[in-house]
Symmetry: C2
């Protein structure tokens, strides 16, 4: 079968070089959605044929567990805090619905959609709001209207091409968001373990045993996943261990919790037994949203907009990370179309009273990752100490992992959907009920810690803590003062701290405003505080892959580049700034700036190392000249 050939760099969907009313995105509805579908549809058949591989199976198992376990964990959280309105069946229904819709109809089948911690936060905060007015009786209807407004605003945003603005998101805000999510997950994990003491039927012994299980589960998954990165065993074995870390640990520790005697008799809390296919509370699936008081319908509007704001950021960032540049993707993205679809799941989810699904933020790249063929290659290097004195040559055999191909397909996503549907049946529900609830605390720790570890805030803090003399000269951050890096981290941390703080209050639903406000902060204020060079080293656009940018009308010019450009042209200079070697090197080439910036990102370490060495050499030459003159 012939595969479409496309030149994403020259996609017809662009807003550059257009004048008149046509340049305004909102005036040309459906343009983005149309182009999304037009770009993606030719690939549809390959999405099925490309799925016939082992990796599809491995990816399917892995993402199934990574999606299922936190979803159940979050539903437990919601159940506790909404007086039992939500339960396992709602979680499974929501996950199955999202997986079916997005595996069949989305432009980006790699982006896995499901229940996140943030919708949990929304759902119980909305409950708290209703309760604070003494109207928890209309919670289902109220929640439904929030979802309906959210659906409507989703559609508006998708139709008016607003997803284009995702291209302005940089790691500054998306990493702050990832950090925030990671912290929330860790908090949820602790809350889950605390619940093991407080829930009816629990005992202190069960609570403490739960902590033991959660910690051991965390350690097990962490160890198994880390095995994949080592050079032990064979490439196949260690890949298998990493692929199936969640199922292995889940089965192991569930089994452990059933060891007869002191462990089983402790009476660990387990998932509650519920009849298959029915809502948890005594209601029909369809919410009687027409019975909602009119004033509450309008109170629901701002909340619906906040949900849209959250999903706009959350869902699209998960699509971005699932299609990041490190994955060698060939099939195009489609942000507008998918956001419209998300509006549909919001609407359906709303009227049947299930948690609204959206893109899974820390888990999204896991799916793509598990579908990627990695080859462990051997690289040999020689190393020699040259200071304090010339040492001997040492030879190293190193593992170099290369991503050769991503199995971009819909099958793993679709099979996962079938898995959720299967779980909703009686027999498999019983299997679920054997899992101790404390294990979900461990799931939170794994996922949350994974997110915290991977963010630039963490790596920058570790960089600052490291003794300067042991930092490799290749690190581009060596061109900056540590105080400046700390200052940058400070700005990010404000966003994270404010979000975490507000999440603990009834104002929790306002946190998307804080996260989203980091974008204008980065775009308008940061370029005035930090130099072009500093931002070049510390930040980069989150939308960095060509396949992704086509759906957003191409990459924008960064404000700091514009600013530096402008300053230079004002001074009528070409390249003078001595300190900004790298920045001037890139930005003086005008529109080329972006391209060399991309190159810079592409292989950051090496590139900056080269640039810096060049600069050092130049400096050396200049110093020699100066000495010569003196």
């Amino acid at each position: 079968m012939k595969r479409p050939t496309v030149d994403y760099a020259n996609d017809p969907y662009t807003w550059d070089n257009i004048s008149g009313w046509k340049q305004y995105r909102s005036l040309r509805p459906f343009r983005g959605m149309y182009h999304d579908v037009r770009r993606r549809l030719p690939w549809y058949w390959t999405d099925i044929t490309d799925g016939m591989t082992y990796r599809t199976f491995a990816g399917c198992i892995r993402i199934f567990f990574v999606n299922l376990l936190p979803a159940i964990a979050f539903i437990l959280d919601m159940q506790r805090r909404t007086n039992g309105f939500f339960g396992i069946n709602e979680a499974l229904f929501s996950s199955a619905l999202a997986a079916l819709v997005f595996s069949l109809f989305s432009c980006q089948p790699l982006t896995v959609v499901g229940i996140t911690g943030l919708i949990s936060l929304f759902n119980y905060t909305i409950y708290d709001i209703a309760k604070s007015y003494g109207r928890e009786d209309i919670y289902p209807q109220f929640l439904c209207w929030c979802a309906i407004w959210a659906a409507i605003t989703h559609w508006v945003a998708a139709v008016l091409n607003w997803c284009d603005y995702m291209r302005y998101i940089t790691d500054f805000s998306s990493n702050a968001f990832g950090m925030y999510v990671g912290i929330i997950y860790m908090i949820k994990g602790v809350e889950e373990l605390v619940a093991g003491f407080q829930e009816p039927g629990s005992s202190w012994a069960a609570g403490y045993l739960g902590i033991v299980i959660a910690l051991c589960y965390w350690a097990s998954v962490y160890f198994l996943e880390a095995m994949g990165g080592t050079t032990y065993l064979t490439p196949v074995t260690r890949k298998l261990l990493a692929d199936f870390a969640y199922p292995i640990a889940t089965i192991w520790w569930t089994g452990f919790s059933h060891i007869p005697g002191r462990i089983k008799s402790t009476g660990l809390l387990r998932l509650e037994h519920t009849p298959a296919f029915y809502p948890t509370t005594d209601r029909s699936w369809l919410i009687d949203f027409w019975n909602c008081p009119v004033d509450w319908i309008f109170v629901a509007l701002p909340i619906g907009i906040l949900i849209t704001l959250l999903f706009y950021y959350d869902h699209n960032v998960s699509s971005l990370t699932a299609q990041a540049k490190q994955f060698p993707l060939t099939k195009p993205a489609g942000f507008h179309w998918d956001f419209f679809l998300l509006g549909i799941t919001c609407f359906i989810g709303g009227i049947i009273g299930i948690p609204l699904p959206n893109g899974l933020v820390p888990q999204a790249p896991v799916h793509t990752d598990s579908l990627t063929e990695y080859v462990d290659n051997l690289a040999r290097s020689r190393e020699q100490d040259y200071e304090p004195s010339e040492g001997e040559w040492l030879q190293h055999n190193k593992k170099v992992v290369r991503a050769t191909k991503v199995h971009e397909q819909r099958l793993s996503h679709f099979i996962m959907a079938l898995g959720f549907v299967g779980l909703m049946t009686g027999p498999l529900l019983i299997v679920l009920h054997t899992i101790p609830r404390a294990l979900f605390g461990g799931v939170f720790f794994v996922v949350g810690w994974g997110s915290i570890e991977g963010m630039n805030i963490t790596s920058n803090v570790l960089y600052i803590l490291r003794e300067s003399r042991y930092i490799d000269p290749q690190d581009p951050r060596t061109t900056l003062k540590k105080s400046r890096i700390a200052y940058y981290v400070f700005w990010q941390s404000i966003g994270v701290a404010a979000s975490v703080a507000i999440s603990q209050t009834i104002g929790a639903i306002g946190f998307p405003v804080i996260i989203v406000s980091l974008i204008p902060l980065r775009w308008c204020i940061l370029p005035r505080i930090f130099s072009e060079h500093e931002l070049l080293v510390l930040d980069s656009p989150t939308a960095d892959a060509t396949v992704v940018l086509a759906s957003m009308g191409g990459q924008p010019t960064l404000p700091e580049v514009k600013l530096a450009e402008q300053k230079r042209s004002e001074r009528g200079e070409e390249d003078v700034d001595g300190a900004g070697g790298v920045s001037s090197g890139t930005s003086s080439q005008g529109t080329e700036g972006i391209r060399s910036r991309e190159k810079f990102k592409d292989d950051e370490e090496k590139e900056v190392g080269r640039l810096r060495r060049e600069r050092e050499t130049e400096g050396g030459v200049q110093a020699t000249l100066r000495t010569g003159h003196a």
Copy 2:
């Protein structure tokens, strides 16, 4: 003050080139002890003056905790299994006695002496033996006689210069022993946590909370000690964290266990309150050993000999590791004298009914280590991939730790002794009683795991598991087949497995026989199974420092070297064996073999790398020649 200058390589204490009856060690009593004292006495005053440094203080705190916490943990174990004959006061008394005697009178004040897990094993197995004959009533007297016989055999061994035979111990047996001790410690840790469920007054909740505390304590100490090896913070800060890892974690988790509410109310087991200075059971300190039935006195003889066998191995190996070559020591060792001293503490310990102290095996090098001045230096290196293709040069700034000096002194040991005496008083005993018992489970895990991690069995197993292509060519083991390394590990593992297995039975007191029998196995059988080259790579003498060997009459020639030597001279060849490049390279030089072997050990990696490269080059030249001829 003038410091003695000594040439340890030409120490008058030697048995080489002596003929007639004088060559027999046992016929010249006190010779070793005399030379030990003669060699060490001139340094005595410097042992005090050299102690006036911060490192003495740091070393003192660190070894105090590393000595105290396991000692208490072991006494809990003994208390549980000897029907309460032993208690905290006995542990403190024993530790204080040992520390006073050895800090003041020993030749090797770096070797810290105290209560180990193995004497615990002995004490309760002796109890089991008495009990199996229905005579637990005479347990104190019986135990006392075991100690008296042990003391007598200690003195015999010391007087007849038998400690010389320690020089025949290689890593083959000493690492098997370390592994065995590590495993026993881990088992004891689990037993301590299980006791948290079974002891009177305990609850399941307390038991599980205990597990949480033990695991967290383990993680904390491990993390803090690991900090010392990183490049984070400043050299001083990270060194401080590593130095005080035990006190920090102990204070933290003890405090944690007292948090009011769900934690404190759980009723964690804590150390029992006992009156100061009195024995735990209602008895006077002096055991009425004259009331022991005569037949039991003679039953005690073989047990006493087994204790001596254990201490002979255990105490001397701890002295060896505390004075290993990696520490730049200048003051001489004295094995004979110290073993005589150990006989004295055995005698005193026996007649007052306290656990017999001896050299602490996994902890012994900790004392020397904490007295060593390490300087973190910077080394710069350049690295380049040369396969698959010539990559760019990368520069690395590496931390290189250099041991510049060991503060060899008696003060830290003596202050530790005072600390134990202090702890025996009422007020400090009360402080001890605030520690939750489960924390000692964590102590076992830290110490036991540290021992397991550091043994050659572990590193060889990891080597075998590693994918071959990623092993650095410098590793001397690359010259061997993996199956041969596995075969070597197999022999060691037999010793470990047999010792661990027997330790779980009433035959536990027989385990020193197994450990000690590994020495003749290594000396007589292994050289016939493994080639000289294999043993050169896989094994090395445990007594490797010059300061140490002087006290043992110098280094012996290894049997595999002799054997290879003999074979070659039989064949009238000089150096033909193509495969044994390294071995033939060293052994063909006859008596030089040892010296080049030492050099080889000294900087194993580099040296073997060099030798191998040389061989490879030669091989290359020969291949070229051959091709030329063909």
